[in-house]
Symmetry: C2
Amino acid sequence: MTAERVPPAQLAPQLRDAITRLNRRVRQARPVGDLTVTQLSALTSLRLAGALTPRELADVERVQPPTMTKIVAKLEERGLVQRTPHPTDGRQVILAATEGGRAVLEQFERVRDEWLAHRLAELTEDQRDTLRQAAEILQQLARA
Amino acid sequence: MTAERVPPAQLAPQLRDAITRLNRRVRQARPVGDLTVTQLSALTSLRLAGALTPRELADVERVQPPTMTKIVAKLEERGLVQRTPHPTDGRQVILAATEGGRAVLEQFERVRDEWLAHRLAELTEDQRDTLRQAAEILQQLARA
DNA sequence: CAGGCTAATTAGTTAGGCTAACTATCGTGA
DNA sequence: TCACGATAGTTAGCCTAACTAATTAGCCTG
């Protein structure tokens, strides 16, 4: 199977279209535990990294610092994230998932991405493999 | 190249992650003409179809009718979309891109998806081909 | 130690999405 | 034929998610 030549200017609209529409769909399907996709993503990144400052977490999540302030505030309200002062730099704050936050994530892991996983299960092995490869490339693009 | 076995439950989080992050990125890069991605998408669908009712356009765009009312209102404010009564059914409305709306789209076509196209150009042919295939599958998922 | 930089938050705005409820019209069956 | 249920669209009200600009607090350096 030879790769077809794909002009970027043609692929871009198609890809953007697919991403925005699917993003809407994924956000709509928000059944479990009243955490939004955004909050879930931030909490996951936080647990993965262990501990981060708000700025660092904002960078990882690709949002501006004030946006992260709000997301973290919501997570803190629910007791899923803890804010502790930086040991030497009084300006900074260290964020970490609480015991409760980790528990919620583990709970989520069992039912996570239910809608999407369901749809993916209906695809062929080949299609899933294509998406697996694509996901890596897309993550790379998002990081750029 | 044999397709690797990919469990949907494992692919789902990865794909969701890639999509939400990239979606944020694409939204951020909104330089030209103050139209949002959502508005641009609706206007494009409208021009493509020629004319649609609000309900039809909402279905195409995968949003609920009241949401489309708002989007169309914004486009109408700018004179990019025209609303005309249905010839026989007094309940319905026909939406169409105006001359101005088409002009804006043509203007966009020259600079459209600049950020994304730029990033895509940095990939290999193989990677772009993977994304092309993936885009079709993702659109199919979004429609499901 | 004054002034500039950095981290985080607050304030305010906008877009975009939803559901519920309302209005107007259509179509149909007693 | 006309009353009533269904349909199309909008309005109202709510929420999330994002932004920029401005503020506060703390750090550091000439």
